[in-house]
Symmetry: C2
Subunit: 415 residues, 2 copies
């Protein structure tokens, strides 16, 4: 994966092969550690390097704070046979900042991918100028960073998850936020730097929030062998992302995955994007709550109320969710005909609504997927796990950068 | 690219590095040859091998009949400084066989990618049992092979281009042919073998015709820097293919690209695929001719008549093509929102209808592509070149296999 951040400083180590091998070993320890204990011998077998080479690389990674020994069988001798290795729970980490319509969620993920600190605030970013909304997110991020430092975590970069078309560090268009051509990355970085005088400036990346939620689902969710999937996240907007063969499809301009603006009815209601009858107008949060007759309760509370009513058998709630499911299924059938993915994953507000949403969506897919491969209830339409979380995906994207080239992110005074 | 054919025999040469380098050098000569003259020194610089290594590899490729010297500066001395190299115009070649609804087209492509023999027969494959249609195609192929041998070309494999869902050598479903679970690859290979007693059996591959037309467009068309595009081909059905970053997206089951069965109107006319209101029912050949009031003239003649009438300003013809363009644009806007390709290429019957088809399609795209990046007439919607030809793509796919591992396709007695 291409680096998402500008490296912190000039790359001192010119031995690119060694840098590559450091990355291989660090990843191997992380992956082996997920399934049991990682040892130098196990890592050597996995990456195809000699035991001696691996020992030297492990040494450097321990000196720089990327690896630790579990200590269980630590003997203090050179060679340390059988000692279990782990990625450090302290040191380099990633900061993820999701700025959505009605909340900001910030989290810190360590090298193992574990979420360690989380701070979420419910607020309304629609009524706020973009610069102010980003400054507010920076304040939440600064507080989250304080908590991370207390846990001896050292975030080396931040990634912003934003609900709109993101490219070149800017939000080109985020209809539900009312943002147009907002240089979000720069504004956020400046606001955060101003809050932390004396600290090194944190490099900042940015990406569409559905893309990052899909990556989080891929990395941390329960997808098993699934490597190609379409990801939909129901929020105030309807976001989407495409993962093909384990890689995010960003598209020629970075705008792939905008399934919320696939047309359902060409003469349908006007959409904030400028078109008419987009899926968002039938299966977005506002449309759902309106159709269910839930007025005056916004955001998460409104969705919980909708779940409660549907669960109690309220006919209007059940019909509203069912109709949204039909429209979702109709649009998804087109996407499946086009892409032929292993699975379609529904996240965001759709997770809790699956009992009423999935059957009509499945029926549309069964009737309209031309390959006849769609079997209702066959597991290709599934709810996202709780892992499908854009803030965690953003933080993990930063960690990927560290794993790709640990030397670039070693402590300035490390060694 | 993974080999599409079963290699002809056991791989005698165990030196995989040398085999890989033979492939590199053969491709380098082909690519350099397209832009001027390929020399040993030029090839060495391109592939990063020593001049001596390249000379040895060139020697082997010439002995096996893959390369020739142009002779212009041929001195007869060892080392041959400055001698121009070319891929052979004789020897290994690919056979492509497109079996479509109302025609069969067979072609032979040489190592340089040039179409050398072509035989097309207009007939109706709908009224014929699948086995008989395949046997008829094999007879056309056998005659084409005779012509190839006369030109000292030696097709080493065949690829079938088929209008339907193709996987594992079988047509799973081809609604417009009325085929279901037809083992096309085996039936064709057997029929061809029966026609050529005493000849080695030709290995046969198979693939969806739109996929192969898209590859032909990528390899031989005028796409320039475009590496990601959506390809639509209007025929009796509407086929589609997705090329992302220069690679065909086959999908999890091999069924990606079925844009003809994306729903336009959920309550629309029944489609042969079992769904309702598919794009094919609005922009397929039959629907177009019917809407234009052209009855009783089928196939290519009907389409030419439609072009003639539209060109003469016949209101019904112009309206029919315009409406098809609107429906195409509507479905394409969804696909562009999802995929964000560099371009959308329209082939088949759409090529000649572009003057009346493109403006309404462009208008739909402009209004509905959420990124606002779609500019009408901006060149992202374009007609395919004549290169977008499934039979040539099929033959070229075989040639790709040869270029990937020439040793596997050397003359049995070569050396």
């Amino acid at each position: 994966m291409k680096s998402i951040l500008t490296p912190l400083g000039p790359k001192a180590d010119k031995d690119t092969v060694r840098r590559h091998n450091l990355s291989l070993v660090l990843r191997a320890v992380r992956d082996e550690g997920e399934r049991g204990e990682a040892t130098r011998a196990g890592v050597a077998a996995r990456v195809g390097l000699t035991r001696a080479a691996v020992s030297s690389l492990v040494e450097q990674l321990m000196d720089s704070g990327f690896l630790t020994e579990s200590g269980k069988t630590f003997s203090g001798q050179a060679g340390r046979p059988g000692t279990a290795l782990k990625v450090a729970r302290t040191g380099p980490a990633g900061l993820g900042v999701e700025i959505n319509i009605d909340y900001v969620s910030v989290c810190v993920v360590d090298l193992a991918g574990t979420g360690r600190v989380r701070q979420t605030e419910h607020l309304d970013n629609r009524g706020t100028p973009a610069g102010e909304a980003l400054a507010r997110a920076a304040r939440i991020a600064a507080r989250t960073l304080e908590s991370a430092y207390e846990q001896e975590l050292r975030p080396v970069g931040a990634a912003l998850a934003l609900p709109g078309l993101v490219s070149g560090g800017s939000v080109r268009q985020a209809p539900n936020l009312g943002w147009n051509e907002v240089p979000a990355q720069r504004l956020f970085a400046e606001a955060l730097a101003a809050l932390r005088p004396g600290h090194p400036v944190l490099p900042v990346a940015s990406e569409n929030e559905a893309n990052l939620a899909a990556l989080a689902e891929l990395w941390f969710g329960g997808l098993g062998d699934v490597r190609s999937f379409l990801y939909l996240t129901g929020e105030i907007g309807v976001g989407g992302a495409l993962v093909l063969g384990g890689e995010l499809l960003r598209g020629a301009h970075g705008f792939a995955g905008e399934i919320g603006h696939v047309v359902v009815d060409p003469e349908g209601p006007e959409c904030r994007c400028g078109s008419r009858g987009c899926l968002e107008q039938y299966a977005g949060q506002a449309a759902l709550l309106r159709a269910a007759g839930i007025e005056g309760i916004g955001g998460a509370s409104g969705v919980l109320e909708l779940e409660r009513r549907a669960d109690a058998g309220d006919p209007r709630a059940v019909a509203a969710v069912g109709e949204a499911g039909r429209m979702l299924g109709r649009v998804l059938s087109g996407a499946v005909n086009l892409i032929d993915p292993d699975a379609v994953v529904l996240g965001g507000i759709y997770r809790g609504l699956m009992p009423w949403l999935a059957p009509p969506a499945d029926a549309e897919l069964t009737g309209r997927v031309v390959s006849g491969l769609w079997s209702p209830g066959g597991g290709r339409l599934r709810a996202s796990s709780v892992a499908g979380d854009a803030a965690r995906g953003a933080a993990a994207l930063v960690v990927q950068d560290v794993l790709d080239d640990p030397v670039a992110y070693a402590e300035p005074s490390g060694g």
